[in-house]
Amino acid sequence: MELKDKLIGSFLAFENTGLADLDSKVHQERTEAFNQFEKVGFPTKKDEDWKYTSLKAVLNTDYNLFPEMENNIELKDVKRFFIHEIDSYKVVFVDGVYSSFLSETTHEGCDICLLSSAIKKPKYKMTIDHYFNTIANKNDNLTALNTAFTNEGAYINIPKNTVLPKPIQILHFSTGNSQDVLLQPRNLIIVGENAHVQIIERHQSLSENATLTNAVTEIFVQKRAIIDYYKIQNDKQSASLIDSTYVSQKQNSIASVNTFSFGAKLTRNNLKFYHNGTHITSNLNGVTIIGDKQHVDHNTLVNHKTPDCESHQNYKGIYADRATGVFNGKVLVHKEAQKTNAFQQNNNILLHDGATINAKPQLEIFADDVKCSHGCTIGQLDEDALFYLRTRGIPKEEAQALLLYAFSNDVLDKIKIPALKNRITKLIALKLGVNLGFDL
């Protein structure tokens, strides 16, 4: 059976699990989303937004849609996937099911907990109804699919004037011990006025069975609030991820999303920012380092609807072997959005002849008093620079790694959690196959 048919067939059964009242808004959203998905199905390469990324190979698997949590995983087995050197809140899921054992949630001063319980409890009804599925793109079929099957994920609500003393880590593990699994986590994050929060997110497969994750995150950033969001993507070759993150910002807020894509079979990052207020800052940073036949696609949008706002996009890509990358970055400046500063930078290095990058920067500007720029480069390693390092006795591999590290350095500099920066640089060194004898 085709995956689409299987999903359609199981929707009714899923609806009867009683997650939400049949007359609730969540139920209504899910039903509408399901109808949308049923009508159109999965995107294909004929869709403009999917021209360079084919889902064929990842959809052609008989995924289990509702995996049972078979084995409890032990902390020692997964500790390395946490940033464990620092104190943090943790919201952890195993095969889509919340793991209270691995998590550290709270309701004191803020809510860092589960979407499933937030949907069920009357106490949260108003908030859920107000925010859930309001900025997620309803015309995006994968987002619609996620909405239809919304069940579990992180629910984070930071009230106004709260500066969270420690970061939140959201981890999704898939054990897939006996089967291939499809996971559809859904996160809802609300950062109140003047609040400040740091979030680290990771999807990690623990098995060689196929995992397809179709994740959706909605983030609402209120006036003067600050959110720093870090996505670590370094999954197994058996895993694929389609991540859609929607950020809605109010005036004077600063939202930064940093995406580190170092592996998995296929990764698609839809990252969309919507401005609703003046003096907003949006930062989108990314470092992609992949090889083999891996594929990473960054599809970004900054929707400047209001005046006096700025956005900065900085994506670096390093592609080896037969890896392919896509950067499709769009900046939309509406007529009302005067005095917009929008910058977009995409630099790529292709290490081997078989590697490919498809870069498609798009600026659509309807206002006349704006500063917008975009730049895109595709190149190879600088041979002169390589020679310089080698004359100092540094072997070729290490010299290459140093240059690639330097290439991605201005993005790494944006990481505000030292332990995380350390981890990312170690992952890069590992990815580049070198041990430099110091923490880069």
Binding site: G393, I394, L402, Y405, N409, G437, F438
Partner: protein, 245 residues
């Protein structure tokens, strides 16, 4: 120490070096001068192992061993150092970490263990003091945002740390004002001893006011057309290169 024998080298089938012969002994300072396009920088690049150039004939021998089959890093491990005209910027890697990597890679190649951190630190301090370099400078990213003078001083710092047998200074004076030039030259003079040798490659005589050569060679059209003592440099300064052609 270094013996260059009938060296021919070309790039894209264009011959640039056309039979160079040169012998450098320990404790000596040699200067190679010549007009633009004479092959000066090619010569230093070929000695250091830049793969852009094909050696078509002849040999470069260090202490009885041909260097031609060795990679640039292996030549560095054997004691060749080349100071660049345009050193590369490496954001995010401090000079200290960089030199530590370079030294330990060299030690590894020579079958030695890593230099313990405290000894490394001591060596860095002593060298910084010797060359009158502020240690804060060494914790900045390598060459990033450095002025021309700072980059060249950093090159000399690296040279001091790596203690090469033969140091090649390729157009080290280019882009330096006279104060920066003096500082760099002083550094080189402090590192000079009876066991190492220095090959200065320069277009102008002025660097040779501060680094006094034992021998001056004039390179023209890929060949050494005249050799002499330090007075040859002054003669060139006065008369230019044309009288030799």
């Amino acid at each position: 120490m270094l013996h260059i024998k009938n060296l021919h080298a070309s790039v894209n089938d264009k011959e640039i070096l056309r039979g160079i012969n040169l012998e450098i002994k320990p404790g000596e300072v040699h200067a190679i001068m010549g007009p633009n396009g004479s092959g000066k920088s090619t010569l230093s690049a070929v000695i250091a192992g830049n793969g852009t150039y094909d050696v078509t004939q002849g040999d470069v021998v260090l202490d009885g061993e041909s260097l031609l089959d060795f990679a640039p890093e292996e030549r560095a491990h054997k004691g060749i150092f080349m100071s660049f005209q345009y050193p590369v910027e490496i954001p995010g890697v401090t000079t200290t970490n960089f030199i530590r990597t370079a030294i330990n890679e060299t030690r590894k190649a020579r079958g030695l263990a890593d230099l313990p951190a405290n000894e490394m630190l001591k060596k860095i301090r002593a060298t910084a003091e010797l060359l009158d370099i502020d240690r804060k400078f060494l914790s900045r990213s390598l060459n990033e945002g450095f002025s021309g003078g700072e980059k060249k001083r950093n090159e000399i710092f690296q040279m001091a740390m790596l203690e090469p047998k033969l140091a090649i200074l390729d157009e080290t004076d280019s882009g330096l004002d006279i104060d920066a030039l003096k500082i760099v030259a002083n550094g080189v003079n402090k590192l000079k001893n009876k066991d190492n040798a220095i090959l200065v490659i320069t277009h102008y005589q002025r660097l040779l006011d501060y680094i006094i050569p034992d021998f001056v060679h004039v390179l023209h059209n890929g060949k050494i057309i005249k050799s002499g003592g330090k007075e040859l440099a002054y003669e060139l300064e006065e008369k230019g290169y044309d009288w030799l052609k």
